[in-house]
């Protein structure tokens, strides 16, 4: 079996009052065995619907998908045996303690904490000091670690993590991704979704998803390399005025705020483009101008693909 997850033309629509909302417009992709696959997209892109279809709790309206070789509709019971799922919303028992939650999920899957302790050790040691605390009283980052432990306790072949780092502080986010890398080394296929573009580079391959359609699927470096323009970062003392002025510049194709810089693409990439722009800006009384060519990030690619 080469692929852990195969998705072919999956469609999903919802009835919202009288309107029919299409959440997924025929999505297809594959995830290789042992791969860390990222679904990158903003809220409402259809990530959660896709996860629910793959974890068999939702029926697709069209298309087919297999997880670990099993069909998501016909063999749903077999899939439920061999996948780990961590929904976007914290979904453990808030009135049970950390330890009780973990041992409950272990028993649910006919195993014990001891049996698979090795797998969750790295994660669990961090929350073990709080094992008698109720899950509802944990911090956001600890909740996610506990949820991951619970999803892993039965040693799943495929792990589905729906926005595991949303609402988690930057340090915990970093730790979380390091844990995912270690899990990958154990041979577990991981499908993870995130609205954070910076996390995309940590995946083996990513799918950029927007409004139920996949914009691009590739390795993150390949996606950034395929950016069709030379990207520039620019800043000056008056950043807001700068944005207005750069947009008014005749050779600028697009310019948008990106952190403390503006990201800029020229219409015509001729040799004098940089000096022309600097001249133009100096005429408009801008000081401390900094202009430099940069490599595109995933977010830049995403913005480019949305055009």
């Amino acid at each position: 079996m080469d692929y852990s997850v195969e998705v072919k033309n999956i469609k999903k629509t919802y009835q919202a009052g009288k309107e029919i909302v299409t959440a997924l417009h025929g999505i297809s992709f594959d995830v290789k065995q042992g791969e860390l696959f990222g679904l990158i997209g903003p809220d409402g892109a259809g990530k959660t619907s896709l996860f629910r279809i793959l974890t068999t709790v939702l029926l697709p309206d069209g298309g087919s998908a297999t997880v670990n070789g099993f069909d998501v509709v016909k063999d749903y019971k077999k899939i439920r045996n061999c996948v780990g799922y961590m929904p976007g919303k914290f979904s453990l028992y808030q009135d049970l303690t950390v330890e009780e939650n973990l041992s409950f999920f272990a028993t649910l899957f006919n195993t014990t904490i001891e049996e698979n302790y090795e797998l969750i050790k790295d994660i669990y040691v961090q929350i073990e000091p709080f094992k008698t605390r109720r899950a509802g009283k944990l911090s956001g980052g600890m909740k996610q670690k506990l949820a991951l432990s619970c999803a892993l306790i039965h040693k799943p072949a495929v792990l589905f993590l729906d926005e595991p780092t949303t609402g988690v502080d930057p340090v915990s986010r970093k730790e979380f991704w390091e844990m995912l890398k270690r899990l990958k080394q154990q041979g577990i296929t991981i499908v993870v979704s995130t609205p954070y573009m910076d996390e995309a580079t940590l995946c083996d391959r990513i799918a950029l998803i927007q409004q139920g359609k996949i914009l691009s699927i590739d390795k993150p470096e390949k996606i950034t390399k395929s950016f069709p323009h030379q990207l520039y970062a620019i800043k000056s003392a008056e950043i807001y005025q700068l944005l207005k002025d750069v947009n008014a510049f005749e050779n600028s194709l697009s310019c948008y705020a990106f952190g403390e810089y503006l990201h800029l693409i020229f219409k015509e990439e001729h040799d004098n483009r940089e000096t022309d722009l600097l001249k133009f800006l100096k005429m408009r009384d801008h000081s401390d101008i900094e202009l430099k060519p940069i490599d595109a990030s995933i977010e830049d690619c995403f913005i480019e693909l949305l055009k």
Partner: protein, 377 residues
């Protein structure tokens, strides 16, 4: 099996860690029983009665003294005027009246037969029935004590039996009144139904609402396992509740259990399971705790109160409502409990009702299992 035990243990933790619900679980029945119990007993104690004695002989005097001496009655006035009795009823100051015709004692001695009239305010049917029953039992007691002494020979007793005081009962305002009801079986039916249905109806829906159902679904668990383990803690807690109710009714309210306690327990367990299955059905077919709560309150409280037969006699209802009352489990349980607790009957006379409850339970369980969604939405 290990999974099941873990599941049940988890459910128990949910129940015990939710203090407010636990309080409601045990507080509700106790409050209801005590409230219903003492509200009713207070009314019957020291009920005001008017005596109209046209005879004024020593037999009527003795009976009046016994009425006065009992804890149930307090003689408001003794009068010789029937108009006064009517006025007293109209003003609502009295609940009952006892009227001895002239020559009561004489008739009893010579004709071996005398009539006494008991009038009760039928606008409050339960009280009225209880009062007339009390009065006739006082009169009967007098009759047995004084007119047929145990020492007398069988012949003499046979003879004395011909001394008959015939109480003639009259209900004012509601002459069609039927049957003496005791409220404990009714409260049992109501409380067990409410507690079981409400608690279980919330239990599965809570998992849906909190999102834990999503994780639970993506595991090899079986729906039957979830449903049974959800019902387990409430079954045990309801049995504890049942014991509390019975202890209260026997010791605090003085209502004896005339029939077999074991049988009463067995059928009550069956009824609890019926209620639990109903709760599970609500739970599996609703999406939010609020809907489940409302549905179980509106769907259970009203029909149970209306159609169980302990507040309003079913016989007096229009036919369509009588037919509807058949699907209310509380009706059957009420009949069973009344038969066992008050009439002291055995399984032979309640097997039909028990079978109906059993059938309902199986149907509800099967339906809730079928309705259990193995997917979201």
């Amino acid at each position: 099996m290990k999974q099941f035990i873990t599941f049940v243990r988890k459910e128990f933790k949910h129940v015990f860690r939710d203090r407010k619900t636990l309080l409601m679980l045990f507080g509700l029945p106790i409050v209801q029983i005590v409230l219903f119990g003492f509200a009713l007993t207070n009314e019957i104690k020291n009920s005001k009665i008017v005596v109209l004695d046209y005879s004024k002989d020593n037999v009527t005097r003795a009976i009046i003294d016994e009425v006065e001496a009992s804890q149930y009655f307090e003689i408001a006035t003794e009068t010789k005027n029937i108009q006064e009795v009517e006025a007293a009823f109209k003003s609502g100051k009295i609940k009952s009246a006892i009227i001895f015709p002239s020559n009561f004692g004489n008739d009893l001695l010579h004709l071996h037969k005398a009539q006494v009239q008991i009038i009760a305010d039928g606008s409050d049917p339960n009280t009225a029935t209880t009062l007339t029953n009390y009065l006739s039992s006082i009169i009967q007691g007098y009759q047995q004590q004084h007119l047929a002494s145990p020492q007398s020979s069988p012949e003499a007793r046979g003879n004395s039996m011909s001394f008959q005081i015939i109480p003639e009962m009259r209900m004012l305002y509601n002459p069609e009144l039927k049957g003496a009801h005791n409220f404990v079986p009714g409260v049992m039916a109501l409380v067990l139904m409410l507690v079981c249905v409400m608690m279980t109806s919330i239990s599965i829906v809570r998992e849906k609402e909190l999102g834990t159902m999503e994780v639970l679904l993506v595991s090899p668990f079986k729906p039957l396992l979830v449903i049974l383990s959800k019902a387990m803690p409430y079954l045990i807690l309801s049995l504890v509740n049942l014991i509390v109710i019975l202890l209260l009714s026997v010791f605090a309210l003085g209502l004896p259990i005339n029939g077999s306690v074991v049988l009463l327990f067995l059928v009550s367990t069956l009824y609890i399971i019926t209620a639990l299955s109903l709760g599970l059905l609500i739970s599996t077919s609703t999406a939010s705790q609020q809907t489940a709560m409302l549905l179980s309150l509106m769907g259970m409280l009203l029909p149970t109160m209306l159609f169980a037969g302990f507040m309003f006699p079913i016989e007096n209802m229009p036919l369509p409502l009588q037919i509807i009352s058949n699907v209310v489990p509380a009706k059957w349980f009420y009949i069973i409990v009344k038969s066992i607790m008050i009439k002291g009957l055995g399984i032979a006379s309640i097997w039909k009702e028990t079978l109906i409850l059993f059938g309902m339970t199986m149907f509800l369980l099967a339906l809730s299992l079928k309705k259990f969604n193995v997917r979201l939405a």
